[in-house]
Amino acid sequence: MADDIKRKDAQMRATINQKLVETGERDRLKDLLRTRLIECGWRDQLKQHCKEVVKQKGLEHITVDDLVAEITPKGRALVPDNVKKELLQRIRTFLAQQADN
């Protein structure tokens, strides 16, 4: 039963993802997110944080995966709420339009 829900869930995700990619909406959302994160200074803050991590561990001893693992919690926490809300609303609108079609 639980497995069934899980499978349906995965199926749903796959369908939504495919729709997002096919229509170019995924790229548009990425573009919006990128713009917003640059605007609010998120990008600069994270870049600074990355520099600190690399300096601390030494360039020779760190991989991209290490760096990603290190900065992800901070990166997530620093995304402003209004940016998350705006993105969520855009996704909702997109899904509503898709359901209408």
Partner: protein
Amino acid sequence: MTSCGHITEYKSKYGTNQFRIIHAYFIAASSDNARRRKGKSGVCHTCRFPSFRLHACLYCVYFGCYTTKHIHEHAFSKNHNLAADMTYGTIFCFECGDYVYDKELESIAQIQNEKAAKSLGLKSYNFIAWEPTEVEVEILRQNPKRRKVENKSTIGLRGLINLGNTCFMNCIVQSLIHTPVLRDFFLADKHNCQMTSVEAQQCLVCEMARLFQEFYSGNRTPHIPYRLLHLVWTNARHLAGYEQQDAHEFLIAALDVLHRHCKGYSDNKCLSINKFFTGRNGMTSGNPHHCNCIIDQIFTGGLQSDVTCQECNNVSTTIDPIWDISLDLGPGAPIPNALLNVNNSSSSPSSGFSNSPGTYEPTSLLDCLKRFTKPEHLGSSAKIKCSTCHSYQESTKQLTMKKLPIVACFHLKRFEHSTGLHKKISTFVSFPEELDMTPFMSSSRNNTNGYRNQIVQESAKGLSCDNKYSLFAVVNHMGTIECGHYTCFIRQHKDQWFKCDDHLITKATLNEVLKSEGYLLFYHKQILEYQQ
């Protein structure tokens, strides 16, 4: 992340074609067809899930998840040691155990990314992170002293000495100095003076640049703006003399002189924006005001005026550049000549003609803006020549914002000179810290929004930051029309307020700011758009 020998070896054997194809079809798809293919086939070949970190093998046709290591299994079992990340296009080398750089593959990706972004009309591709040029690196080397601006730092705050009733000038200078985009322009040393060296002595933009240096020098003693005052007197003669002047009039004059000096024109060599206010008779839409100077980039908005003929419903639309929005406070006060924008004619603006009927006294900025953008019936005393009917007809007029400026300056018309008697309106008019201009846009008037679902449309609008503004300066006038004093509040960082009273700077709270009797309100846009 460095370059590795495995990539060089791979390229010498197989070339770059496999990467180019994978990138064009599955990473940066630039046509509907390619996007459809990408959407259908973007799944892991092992587990069939559309993982968010899919990688494509550079040796054969295989896509696999990175997180669940399906791509790793493939790489090791087949000895295919290079794969491209299908989200970002970066190359992972399984031999080195990390992502690796390759200039040649990167430049292929760059070209294809741009093409894909253009096909969808995406904006963020125009963003280029700042990298110092060689000249700038040299300047940084020669000037090793650094100053870090932190949240607590008060750098940029400096009082201005009153030179005899010059508080009207001081508060405008404070507001301009604390206009974020203008500050960035001057601190980045972007004014490239177009005047000859003799003329440049008279350049108000150069003087602003010096003022910014004074404010950011770290010096705490009040600055004496005698040089600025002298320049204002020589460039805007109607403001000369030691009398109290109107701060709004000074702002517009200052913007006008700055705009002219940006172009390298002193005095009368250039078409000033005032011309659009006074000499636009017979001018139709498509105003030739295409100035790209920093003042126009920041302050110029586009005001749309739609005049609808009551007889034939023909709409004539004009768009005019504006530097500020003047808002009536009194009941049915006459609107300024500037806004009496009609497509005819010889008729001079009629009197007793307002941008809101009735005896309505606005008590908030939103009220004022609603009134400003409300369709208004022009009575029989204000007939306008209709280009379709070829005769004078009664009509309806509506003003809306076609293009929003980066900095919106609202002028609450507290001083009335029109009726012969001079008086000041001291009504409290509330104004918000955050302002959404969406309802006052021309696009809201037409209601041509793509969304079909009304509720979705409303909430999506409310959440979008596109037309949102933040308050950053307020100019106040205290006292009466004959005897008064100007002060202002300015914002530093994101939320710290200070009161500037000539040479005195004191800390203030947002509440004090919002409770004050505002005369000029300065808002800046929260989001800047990149130019295409």
